[in-house]
């Protein structure tokens, strides 16, 4: 077996070795049990005191959501103004300009929502102040928001019947002090000592060996890249994201970065099982997610290793696979591996350009973001998967003719309505968004925007359609990667994707937390012979079928018009 394949297998195994103990640790941290990081308690007490927070105050699910939304709105306002006025603020050694209002609108929503879709380029679009005090700040707190929301859901199922779901601020702060910050320090140090810049030095200039004058963008990147991955954010410090040699200097850092984005979503599943004392349930969920991951990953790796058939016809050698948009130090296998994980988990960072991947790879990337629940983003992945679980419980209940139950609580009309609305939201946003974009592209090609609609697409035909579909799908999934050929920095895309990201972030947080809160408050029904067990293989299969059917029905026509059509055209 070649070293590229051994590399990705080793990366996956190492991820498991780290993520499983991390999950057990997280369960203890959020349950308030003793852990070895308790020496950080004084830091937390200090933060509580300075912020006027009393963590003994219990919140019900509505209060939890109020706290969550309040602080998120505050960040939106704060960040928006910094982005607009960054040219007048300090720490802008390269003299980059302020953002236009529509770009600032898009960027701030994108970072508050943990999406990190970027319509600016890191080198020329933001100052060091913005990178650190807005973007990196939001990478920490948006990840912590997702984790805290998931812990609220955990709380609802730990006790038999409860409306007291703990304190949102406590979960939020602990997600930072016990998880994101310590891990970021470790990852940032690894990156720095492997060549990623970490200092505040401005742009540099040198004369190259052949005599060209070259400018080099630098800055405090290592700190940013660490949390960008750990928090499943994905926004690059530089334009080329983790394909940039400064962001990702070697195969070693590549392994570290791709593992960083995987461990917390994985750990959260394990933590769920240990927290609610139903380990078997966690392992079944984990099993479904992992099988789903492999079903997307294996064809992706195969399709990239196979190379581009159009280049094969020209007679060159593609021994290692397709290389357009990829870096030699990672190779096609590790790039394909990354592209699956970054779309399955809502990171959206890239170490190779997705726009240049093979048509079928594009199909799997899109499908991974449409499902958005195999592991998924920090905390929110589990929330998305929870909606699938509720739908699966409901359908199985109908099939066997019993009242649906989840973990001892009756699932009734209200919960199902919420779950159904959240399920319908994604196809609505993705398909309506793509339809509007296609309409504008075909009928208003000359609209006087920063990029005219007729010039949006970097590639003609079916692939061009995929560029638009990808942009909208990535926004709804809060993923943030792109088919970057799309000319997206103009008022149409900034506003459209801004709105989609916002709805695609907050409704899928509110929905599951509300369902969990409602269920948790209901009378506990002890398990009997008639109970539909949710931790069995049969139910796992049922959930898998629900995920497959829902997504196939929603998206097959759109996928057929984009990547599938391109694939079959290339076969000719």
């Amino acid at each position: 077996m070649n070293t590229e394949l051994i590399g990705i297998i080793a990366t996956f195994l190492l991820t498991l070795v780290i993520a499983i103990p991390l999950g057990k640790y997280l369960a203890k941290v959020f349950a308030g049990e003793k852990v070895w990081t308790d020496f950080l308690k004084p830091l937390e007490t200090g933060i509580y005191k300075l912020s006027g927070i009393n963590i003994k105050e219990q919140m019900d699910w509505k209060q939890q959501l109020k706290a969550l939304l309040t602080i998120n709105v505050l960040w939106l306002v704060y960040g928006f103004f910094v982005l607009i006025f960054q040219h007048k603020l300090p720490l802008n050694p390269d003299g980059n300009p302020g953002m236009t209002p529509d770009l600032a609108f898009n960027t701030i929503i994108s970072f508050v929502a943990n999406c990190n879709l970027q319509h600016y380029s890191g080198e020329s679009g933001v100052s060091y102040l913005t990178q650190q005090f807005v973007l990196m700040f939001l990478q920490f707190v948006s990840a912590a928001t997702g984790i805290a929301a998931a812990v609220v859901l955990f709380k609802a199922f730990r006790d038999k019947t409860t409306t007291q779901l703990g304190n949102f601020w406590e979960f939020f702060i602990k997600a930072i002090t016990r998880l994101l910050l310590p891990l970021s320090v470790i990852v940032a140090l690894i990156l720095t000592f492997n060549g990623t810049p970490a200092s505040y030095d401005a742009k540099d200039q040198f004369i190259s060996v052949q005599g060209d004058t070259v400018n080099v963008s630098r800055g405090p990147a290592a700190q940013f890249i660490a949390i960008k991955h750990l928090g499943t954010n994905g926004g690059g410090y530089f334009g080329a994201n983790s394909a940039h040699p400064f962001e990702n200097p070697s195969y070693l850092t590549n392994m570290v970065e791709v593992m960083s984005q995987t461990i917390i979503p994985l750990a959260m599943v394990i933590a769920f099982g240990y927290f609610i004392r139903r380990r078997k349930l966690a392992w079944t969920i984990f099993g479904v997610m992992t099988i789903g991951l492999f079903m997307l990953m294996i064809p992706t790796v195969t399709s990239e290793l196979g190379g581009n058939p159009a280049l094969a016809k020209m007679g060159i050698s593609q021994t290692t696979g397709a290389m357009e948009g990829k870096e030699v130090r990672f190779g096609p296998a590790a790039t394909a591996y990354w592209s699956t994980l970054t779309t399955v988990i809502s990171t959206g960072s890239v170490n190779g350009m997705h726009d240049s991947t093979m048509p079928l790879t594009g199909l799997w990337q899109l499908l991974a973001m449409m499902i958005n629940g195999f592991y998924g983003g920090c905390g929110v992945g589990l929330l998305n998967y929870f909606i699938y679980l509720i739908i699966a419980v409901f359908i199985s209940g109908l099939m066997v003719g019993r009242t649906p139950e989840f973990l001892g609580h009756k699932v009734e009309a209200r919960e199902i309505k919420i779950a159904a609305l959240i399920t319908l939201l994604s196809p609505f946003l993705i398909l309506a968004g793509t339809a509007i974009a296609s309409y504008v592209f075909t009928n208003h090609g000359n609209a006087a925007w920063a990029v005219q609609p007729k010039a949006w697409l970097n590639n003609p035909g079916f692939h061009g359609f995929s560029e638009m579909l990808y942009e909208v799908t990535s926004s709804n999934a809060n993923n943030g990667s792109g088919f970057e050929g799309l000319g997206d920095n103009n008022i149409f895309w900034n506003v459209l994707t801004g709105v989609i990201i916002f709805l695609g972030r907050f409704l899928p947080i509110i929905g599951p937390v509300a369902i969990a809160g409602l269920l948790g408050a209901k009378k506990f029904i002890p398990e009997s012979a008639g109970t539909l067990k949710t931790d069995t293989k049969t139910f796992a299969l049922m959930t898998f079928a629900v995920i497959l059917v829902l997504n196939a029905l929603s998206y097959f026509p759109a996928l057929a018009l984009g990547p599938l059509a391109e694939y079959f055209t290339m076969l000719k």
Partner: protein, 186 residues
């Protein structure tokens, strides 16, 4: 509601101090101990910076090994791939012309020997490496232009080849800048 607003503002301020000042500055200070003092490792010649160890640069002269095609002409004040789709006809023409250029400057080279990385643009536009095969097909040209033995050039290529991590994980590659500097120092 008012309580949440005030708590949110205070918490945000505290976290800005922790996450945007204490954390990044500590890492920047630790970075001073790394190669290049945390500002990117430079390569100097006669006291002048002539490049960054991690960044590729443009080589077009026949006496140098060429790097990969770049969508940003190796301008490190920006970075990007071509974002060309695999079936784009303009893109395929571009690849064809790169193949023709390689064939023209490397007499005796067969099409089937050209590795994909030499005719496709990298993801960052700053890829410092080429594949071993990418270097191998250029050895004859470089040796002939510089009037040195192919054996000598081969040795230098081997010296500047980066093996898979621990000999086990990932691809091997050749650093173009370091290889060309080694040639100049002969």
């Amino acid at each position: 509601m008012k309580k949440y607003i005030i708590q949110s503002i205070r918490l945000t301020l505290v976290l800005i101090v922790l996450l945007c000042i204490i954390y990044p500055i500590s890492i920047a200070l630790a970075g001073k101990l790394s190669k290049g003092n945390g500002a990117g490792e430079k390569i100097t010649k006669n006291g002048k910076t002539i490049g960054y160890a991690l960044l590729g640069q443009s080589f077009t002269k026949p006496e140098y090994f060429w790097g990969r095609p770049s969508a940003v002409s190796y301008n490190a004040a920006g970075s990007a791939g071509s974002n060309k789709g695999p079936s784009n006809p303009d893109y395929l023409k571009e690849v064809q012309s790169r193949i023709d250029t390689l064939l023209k400057y490397n007499p005796g080279l067969k099409k089937s020997e050209i590795p994909a990385d030499m005719v496709t643009a990298s993801g960052s536009g700053l890829d410092p490496n080429i594949s071993e095969q990418g270097a191998a097909i250029q050895i004859a040209r470089v040796a002939k232009t510089r009037k040195i033995s192919e054996q000598k050039v081969k040795e230098l290529v081997a010296l500047n080849t980066i093996k898979p991590l621990m000999g086990l994980f990932g691809p091997s590659s050749v650093n173009v800048l370091k290889l060309n500097l080694a040639l100049d120092n002969l």
